[in-house]
Assembly symmetry: C2
Homo-oligomer: 561 residues x 2
Amino acid sequence: MTYLSNDPASFAEDALAGFCELHADTVRRVPGGAVRRTRPGQPKVAVLPGGGSGHYPAFYGIIGPGLADGAVSGNLFTSPSAQDACSVAMAADSGAGVVFGYGNYAGDVMNFGLATEQLRAKGIRAENVVVTDDIASAPPDRVADRRGIAGDFTVFKVMGAAAEEGMDLDEVVRVGRKANDATRTIGTAFAGCTFPGADAPLFTVPDGHMGLGLGIHGEPGLRDVPRPGARELAEDFVARLLAEKPAGARDRVAVLLNGLGSVKHEELFVLWADVSRLLRESGHTLVLPEVGEIVTSLDMAGVSLTVTWLDDELERLWTAPAWTPAFRRGSITTADAGATVEDVAVAGAPRFAEASAASKKLAASVLDGLRAVRTALREAESELGAIDAVAGDGDHGRGMVRGIDAAVAAAEAAWRAGAGAGDVLAAAGDEWAARAGGTSGVLWGAGLRAAGEAIGTQAGTIDARAAVDAFAGRITALGGAQPGDKTLVDALVPFQQRLRTGTWAQAARAAEEAARATAGLVPRKGRARPLAERSVGTPDPGAVSLALVARTVSEHLEEGT
Amino acid sequence: MTYLSNDPASFAEDALAGFCELHADTVRRVPGGAVRRTRPGQPKVAVLPGGGSGHYPAFYGIIGPGLADGAVSGNLFTSPSAQDACSVAMAADSGAGVVFGYGNYAGDVMNFGLATEQLRAKGIRAENVVVTDDIASAPPDRVADRRGIAGDFTVFKVMGAAAEEGMDLDEVVRVGRKANDATRTIGTAFAGCTFPGADAPLFTVPDGHMGLGLGIHGEPGLRDVPRPGARELAEDFVARLLAEKPAGARDRVAVLLNGLGSVKHEELFVLWADVSRLLRESGHTLVLPEVGEIVTSLDMAGVSLTVTWLDDELERLWTAPAWTPAFRRGSITTADAGATVEDVAVAGAPRFAEASAASKKLAASVLDGLRAVRTALREAESELGAIDAVAGDGDHGRGMVRGIDAAVAAAEAAWRAGAGAGDVLAAAGDEWAARAGGTSGVLWGAGLRAAGEAIGTQAGTIDARAAVDAFAGRITALGGAQPGDKTLVDALVPFQQRLRTGTWAQAARAAEEAARATAGLVPRKGRARPLAERSVGTPDPGAVSLALVARTVSEHLEEGT
């Protein structure tokens, strides 16, 4: 379990602060994460790994020459926001563009994707490399659905060395994707980790068993099996990885044997003796293998094995020197390092477009509507959490409340600053996305911003259908979910369709019926869901939230008339 | 707990083998531990940390330029044998002598002390630096009784840098002892570790509490207290260390914040934020602090804070570069590194003095006696374990059986090789010490060797009193225990005295009575005893073993007559 904290709610931030204090000579903290203290002497591509916290040394432990230029760091096991990613990227960019690297999780994909769009709109070149190394998370014919776990490290190491060599953005992305294509990981867990302040682990594994292929956030794996001896585990791991050797791959490999937290060094060395022997016996040459804690999950008891098949280019980049707090290889020249950067605030106060008097008046009604939604979500928080806990991690209600609280605060500030109705809603969306975390946070945030942009800052009334179309269009484009996937889209689409011909109240009732009907659906394949794979019989919490918000807005509109 | 092993009995050896395989380019395995792969270009002092396994990266993880020349590695939480220490020392010595560094535990003190004597007898200069940093293990007026914990690292780092600089043996010892005198550690544990194959932890801490000052093998600390928040723990740790600031110390400090195993990186960073602030607020300047896993205890949940007050010389040595598997600082020149050494067997077959026919005949009787003792100890193993478990770690019976098994095997080999009676017994003693581990192993081994030397290889009969005097003299000289300390000496001294005027049978009965009487004694202060401090009411297992052996030999002698 986690024993040491001050406030469990700020644990991830407190840890990042302590880390940045310890390494203040080489790393500086910025909103959303950390970047190198020194700026490059001439423009170089900024390699920016990121994801939720709780995986140290992933991701901020590998900031330094030859590896990452910065790291985007979310709350525990929760994607950072697009705003976090933009903040870190703007601090790290030296004019040659940025590339985000992250594991394939819905929240990360959306937030980093959104950040990429926002950075490009600001004139900063931005790209993404998504890691999909976990062979237990989807079969070989659906590689793109696989999660990213410890193979993150190899991919980021290769990209970091490429950027240090002076490769341009397209080249760094190319080698990063090549490294990902050549990387396979299999993991297992013996016992779950416990969050700060929690009194029970996030998941459990039956005594004497292990969860083969269990994800680093407790996502479902292959199956629970009796815990084998070290030699049998090594044989199983190596056989599974060799069965997925890429076509045409040669026999030189980078290898990571990774402890998740409570499986200790001596155990890893015992396992390594067999792993290395088996890999050699299969005709492979091991190139600078690493054994240790590389991508952890708090105190989870587990271990994973990663193999990357190397060509000449990947081997050169894998073996290149690097110097970071948690990973040091060879001797790296620092002659190119430019000036040291003192700590500076990155984020400024938002600016709003000049609004009409009518839109400013309308903004007050928008703000009242958001407050009504806040009241409703706060009242429903525990119920939403209970629904989510059946098949998920139970944090949906908390995330929605965190989002709406931040949204209302931002809307109030925007309203006081004289923003029009559309900007008040857009500002609310931005803060929702930044503070709520997770997949639903970015969807709600991006949806509200889109609706706000549709409303604009001049008109004195709202075209509800246009606003809802913008909201729904953004969410379906970002999330990629289809009706029937058991997501909030199952309530959103009926709502949107009913609104085309009916009133808001009728549409809200359609959303409620559709949300209840999600109880009969099976979640879309590949959708990351910890603890249980089946949630038939329980409605989707995201759909329930959407229906609740629709009804609350309906009541708010009726009061207003 | 420990999840991964092949054979729990060979876990420590398997881990060392896996480590040496992983780092075969820089480290080579030798009997008893590991040494650097490269030999120095010219003679330099060999710095050799050592102790029981289970504390990685202590001790073999810090072998490399600027730090250790090798490491002596015992079984889990068990002192290596003197033979292990000699083996590593002979492989590492380049002509300038060796210095062993280890924490202040009875078994380590005896085994390394014995190795030092044996090396000197072979013409190799050898010294010892004993670390006593744990302020919870004895009050300030008994610093020499304190245990060594994470402060080991700072002391060894300073010694490694000194040797790398070219200091001679006396100088390396001087700076090592100076570093120890300037180093203070306070630790705490939240939960105990579990040995490979065991189904219960070595110790437990009540829920919601922590064992303040608990030792890294579960030795008693100060007291169990409710578990505080990170900030309160930082305040308590810093206050306790500052209260022991050495007289005349300046305000520049090396700091280690050490995780014992299951307290993870993020928690350490949260704690570090407060620790570093408090140390700065007290006027101290932090010089290259380290936060991480430095001296672990398998998967124990615990943390310790170490402060070393630096003078100019210690600061120079602390900040000097080093390059090892687990600790890398700066960029170290390797121009001085000499030739790479291929793996070679260090130990050869023992050679025996030419023995008389009478002594060879007597040797068969000695061998039979040892076999009788083996039978008796095997039968008594679980009973001895149960007695030991009342106040100790319950491994006394197992250790005695491991010792006698190895002793009989060695005696048989010596007898087949034509050794005389004394050499058969001496060979048995050497293997007992090498294989049994722990304090009792080295005492029995050294005692039997001394008895063997008294018996010699010419006489056809044994002067029992002379042999027992040699046995007892060696044990009391090595162990330093006095009658009344509740050790095997409480049975040995009455046995020896009764034998002066009586028969072996009478002496054996005196030993049995004395062993039973140890139930009323309180253990000597400072004697490391996990789990419980009081053992009044239970006889000392070492004394019981001695009486059992005495009686068995008595029966063997009667059969022989």
